[in-house]
Amino acid sequence: MRSYIIKRLFYSVIIAWGILTITFVLLRVGPTSPVDRYILNIAAKGQDVDSVRQAIEARYGLDKPIIEQYLLYMGNLLQGKWGWSFSASQPVMELIGSHWIYSFQLILLATIFAIIIGVGLGILSAVKQNTKIDYAASIFSFIGISIPGFWLGLMLILVFAVYLGVFKTYYDTSYPIWSLENLRQLIMPVLALGTGELAGYVRYTRSAMLDNLRKEFVTTARAKGLSERTVIGKHVLRNAVLPLVTIIMFDLGSIVFGGAYLTEIVFGIPGLGQVSFNAIFANDYAVVVAVTLIGTFLVLFINLVTDLIYTYLDPRIRYD
């Protein structure tokens, strides 16, 4: 057990090193260096380009040999020095510190929504297998998986904000985060982001439930005369839900973060996606890199936590 945890931790450190190395290589082999991008902005303001370039290269250590640059890059990131955002005129870390909450609330609410509706529909369609409810749920999940979240967001704005006027067309940051108005204006973004997520959960839950319904312990439970409610709720669901934890965590990196990025842009929510989006057009290198790295390290952290939680939830892993 302990050796498993240590092994898992060590493993995460290796992955973290790999992530940083890959981003470093990407930045170095790119056709334009971060300095060039910065220079573009400086040159636009009519300053002497060459002296600025030298000053920047010296400041960021870009005149040193590549190995030293690599070590410097790693060291800075580990110490939390994530660079300076010139478009926002503040350290990248501060910029992220003041915006992450908007992404967090969106992702959290959308995921809760997706889990409740998705798992619920999945259970319902497994229990009522091959009925109209089951078919409806499966068609719904096909549509949900295929509909691009950002387009769904646009359509929600078109119908509910432009034509019906139920919601505002933009996200109003003047409401405090912990207010009902804020919750209300998050309804459309959560629907746009959550639909794709929940459609996947419907399918996973349904097939996991069906797999477990055929198992012998279910027959035993029924033979003991337990009510159908207990059989489904305790015996089948508990076994089916466990793999779902991994899938939900995996989805965060592969679907949800990207989806949240786009949803924020569509609805004008000032989260990290919006921050990165604005930075792209301002050629603000440090910010774009930072947002991608934060997303990646979150995935790494979530994977680690999931694995560790799993050892507690599933005794088979613990004693392996």
Binding site: T23, V266, F281
Partner: protein, 320 residues
């Protein structure tokens, strides 16, 4: 699956697609799934549109400022113009015109022409990028499983690192660094999207590796390359085809999303680019945002239907 293959196909080791009886057997199984045929039909229609469509419609880049925001045929909108001299508002009804059956956008470009161009881009990116990704995934997966040892270990750790990156955030970062062009987008999606395929194909190849027919062919003195290309790859080919068809929709959506946030090829019109334009004219020209979204949705849905049918057809355990 291999037993089935051996029974139906006769000689093992011949490439899957040359074994006509096997192909017709799977085709029969696929035909039993109506939805997958509908999907295939739509994909065929889209392919024809992408290949021949641009010859039949006008240039998608051609602007006409006399016909801005023309609604689709059969729809009409009211346009109010305020005259500052007379202080009067004149309202005119604008009808759709048969020479622009799907309307025009805010620069007077023909929607039909732009959608046709978008079909070409989506399919091109979808097929090419998936092709690259699946090729890399299959190659690394088979290599990893067959060679085992430290090669397997190193390749799988590298896969883990690549999998930790949130897919879309990595795309945004790389396209930002290397600059948006169609070739870069195809390459980047292809070079980053192979991880899932590599893992799946590796695990399939691992179980094949210990099978008797592989041992037999090794005992007969077959070289490593012969075993890999004549035995391992043909036997995972159905898995490769299913993986490919199921990953195309994600690739198409990723391209649309990149174009939507302005990281698409500025020289070509894709559905994502049109959606980007449409986003800003939701209140004056709803069709600009609706039409490309519907095309994107139907395309992704078709590939999902088709891929699902294909998976069931190839799965000997599934009853179709």
């Amino acid at each position: 699956m291999t037993e089935l293959r051996a029974k139906k196909g006769g000689k093992s080791g011949r490439p899957f697609l040359i074994r006509h009886r096997l192909v017709s057997y799977y085709w029969e199984r696929l035909q039993k799934n109506r939805l997958s045929l509908v999907g295939l039909g739509f994909i065929g229609f889209l392919a024809l549109t992408g290949i021949f469509g641009p010859l039949l419609v006008q240039d998608p880049h051609q602007t006409d400022f006399n016909i801005l925001n023309l609604p689709p045929l059969g729809f009409s909108i009211q346009e109010s113009i305020y005259d500052i001299k007379t202080n009067e508002i004149t309202t005119t009804v604008i009808q759709g015109r048969p020479d622009h059956p799907l309307g025009t956008d805010s620069k007077g470009r023909d929607m039909l022409a732009m959608l046709v161009s978008g079909a070409r881009i989506s399919l091109l990116v979808g097929l090419l990028a998936t092709g690259i990704a699946i090729f890399i995934g299959a190659f690394l997966g088979v290599l990893s499983a067959y060679l085992g040892g430290w090669v397997d270990n190193a390749l799988m750790r590298f896969t883990d690192i690549m999998m930790t990156f949130p897919f879309f955030l990595l795309l945004v970062l790389i396209v930002f660094i290397f600059g948006p062009s169609l070739a870069i987008i195809v390459l980047v999606i292809g070079l980053t999207g192979w991880t899932g395929a590599a893992r799946l194909i590796r695990s399939e190849a691992l179980s094949l590796r210990t099978r008797d027919f592989i041992t037999a062919s090794r005992a007969l003195g077959a070289s490593d390359t012969r075993v890999i290309f004549n035995h391992l790859i043909p036997n995972v080919s159905s898995l490769i085809i299913v993986m490919a068809s199921l990953s195309i929709p994600g690739v198409i959506m990723a391209e649309a999303a990149l174009s939507f946030i302005g990281l698409g090829d500025p020289m070509s019109t894709s559905w994502g680019t049109i959606l980007n334009t449409g986003q800003h004219s939701l209140d004056s020209a709803w069709w600009v945002a609706v039409e490309p979204g519907i095309m994107l949705f139907l395309t992704v849905l078709s590939f999902n239907f088709f891929g699902d049918g294909l998976r069931d057809a190839f799965d000997p355990k599934a009853s179709v």
